[in-house]
Symmetry: C2
Subunit: 305 residues, 2 copies
Amino acid sequence: MLPSWAEGAAKSAIVDFVARVTQEGGRDYVPPAERIATFDNDGTLWCEQPLPVQAFFLADRVKALAAKDPSLAARQPFKALLERDHATLHALGKKGLAELFFATHAGMSDEAFYEVARAWFSSAKHPKFGRIPEQVIFEPQVELLGYLRQNGFKTWIVTGGGVDFVRVIAEQAYGIPREQVIGSSAKLRVEMRDGGPVLMKAEELASFDDREAKVQNIGAHIGRRPILACGNSDGDLAMLRYAKSGPGARLALLVHHDDAEREVAYDRGFKVSPLAEALDRADEYGITVVSVKRDWNTVFGGNHP
Amino acid sequence: MLPSWAEGAAKSAIVDFVARVTQEGGRDYVPPAERIATFDNDGTLWCEQPLPVQAFFLADRVKALAAKDPSLAARQPFKALLERDHATLHALGKKGLAELFFATHAGMSDEAFYEVARAWFSSAKHPKFGRIPEQVIFEPQVELLGYLRQNGFKTWIVTGGGVDFVRVIAEQAYGIPREQVIGSSAKLRVEMRDGGPVLMKAEELASFDDREAKVQNIGAHIGRRPILACGNSDGDLAMLRYAKSGPGARLALLVHHDDAEREVAYDRGFKVSPLAEALDRADEYGITVVSVKRDWNTVFGGNHP
């Protein structure tokens, strides 16, 4: 059970929690319908360094746009994307990247976007860790998601990344169906094409799914307080506290990337999704910190169906 | 199979469609993950006459508020609610009723609202048809939802009614989990209570889930075009056309309430959710009209777990 998780406090907390909520007749028993687990994606389920995966997709999209309009390549932030100028891109922050992402896909139907992103994923490579998504997803987390589902949980992604981008690979990478992905989103407009309605992506942000918005979107999409939540940054803190502060047994997990050898060691200094307050308050809020170095036997998996 | 559906064109269309999309190797085969079916609720899954069920709940809520503030009882539209003055209430339309609904529950947490609504459902009675929800839900539709699920479909509700109201009974009445209900919604605000975040219902409308908004919300929540949709009013027409106009086999069903004896006969004249354009265009758009009188052997069920 959970072979990529090292024996220790984090693994024990997970196994004990699952045993308690699934024990029929036990004090902490939770009926299957209420076994909701929500996971952040960037930095929680897959690597977000040196940039979130979506930024690589965005760079390729800007490359394609710049081929048609060369003036784009000279303008910021497009220039930084094309040159992989991480300092400039980090300064945009996660919201800036999300807005840029939606801006470059405005005027596409959601169905056309799906095909474009699917084609990209079929040959995408991470600059350091290999094929996307297979080789950048965290093996222990894939195991954890499967273990939770075997125990009657419904697993959800609640990501600051673009919902339509993550939906393309959620089933393949994590076994999570498209409709169980909540994320940042652009507004959708209904337009008539060939006599039938089509959803067109607008430039305007509908939701930047970060911090309190993660809690609001859980309310809107799921309508239940999760009993387990997992994240890796201050952007996940509200969701972790939300899951943790309901009645009964609850588990909040915070992944701390402290393994420079096998992945990247970072927390406070990473502008895209800093981890500072959540780390400082973890004890006080009852959040279980997961150390990549100590708690994960394996970081990256190979092939996941 | 579908015993409450009379043999005829509507039942045949359903059974043929399900056979085609589930036949492995067949030309119209659809993998289970894509078997998305979306149903309107008021007038489609349960009775909406003389008023949608939510209006009865709202009236009881206003009664409780008027007990604390008697001046309310003299003001419109509260007065109309308390007096069951249908003409005035119909003139508000579905959106007006939704706004009033959210206004009277602003400042409650979503979890507190859930308990209030659950308590209400435990003893609620329809003025004509009996216990709510058991005796106001349409037996043929409960059968249809179950039949679709047996055939690998994921069934969703996409309602103009309040999402949090319908979520309370969706599992019990229709076997649909809370997170597969999309509906009209108020904005949610995150507030800190006893050290933990709570979602508070705001007065402001987030989404009035009617007409094009049903299509937009399907995109936001499901991220897939349904292959089957079912509704009963012009407010469902955009969703029916959206489902119907994708590639491959598709089915759009429009319930026509034409049975004054067993239920109520109405269409164009009903202000809350008129049926006029959808009826006129059904043929042109390839929508299958379901006649309550002709196609349903039974209208109301008795007890549904």
